[in-house]
Assembly symmetry: C2
Homo-oligomer: 137 residues x 2
Amino acid sequence: MVDKKTKDWSGCPVRFGMSQFGDKWSFLIIRDLMFKGRKYYHEFMEAGEGISTNILAARLSDLEANDIINKSKDPLKGSRFVYTLTQKGIELMPMMLAMMDWAEKYDAETEVPPEFINGLRSDPAKLQQEILDNLPK
Amino acid sequence: MVDKKTKDWSGCPVRFGMSQFGDKWSFLIIRDLMFKGRKYYHEFMEAGEGISTNILAARLSDLEANDIINKSKDPLKGSRFVYTLTQKGIELMPMMLAMMDWAEKYDAETEVPPEFINGLRSDPAKLQQEILDNLPK
């Protein structure tokens, strides 16, 4: 019985996850970095979800403190910062993909490109590698 | 390039996911139902996370409206309600397990029973079936 095995978890993994990226803005920032090629503050601002600048700054700061994203000077323009996922952040990919798979199934308005969702369902390891190969280094 | 394929998603699956269960309390309720054998209001209240009664009532109502959980009269005691996951809710399991796998790896304080985490990593389909078999019908 799963219940018996799990009811005494003192350090709950779900609670930990939520403490690390537990609101929708954090998820959307991770999505932008992981799947959309966005890496600059202004790109997160302009992603069309209506985040306010103080919330965005706070979430970026939290994600950086939790070692999920990395902030560094943009080699192309020293006055600008560039954000990338850390290894810990990259390893959220299976969770993000599982959520996308579920949403595509249950939301009529979710529009994921067919080649993406088919790739996810037929060969997730290959899709993950493709996404990984396209992340900024 | 993943970016090109995905940047035009008008109905974003991550945004949909967040609209459906997008705060930590919703995740903890889903966790309780999926892994901890909890199904009554008082059990969610007493889960030790410190949720307030008005937040709990609101989250249960949202999850029910989104068809992730089902609320029905308890066959054992007609004046009491029992909550169960719907099929849509059950299918959040891969996402929840992916989060738990990640948390177990990155949080020194997360304590998942070894047989659970080993099962998850060596034979996730078998573990999922075991969890499924133990859900209240």
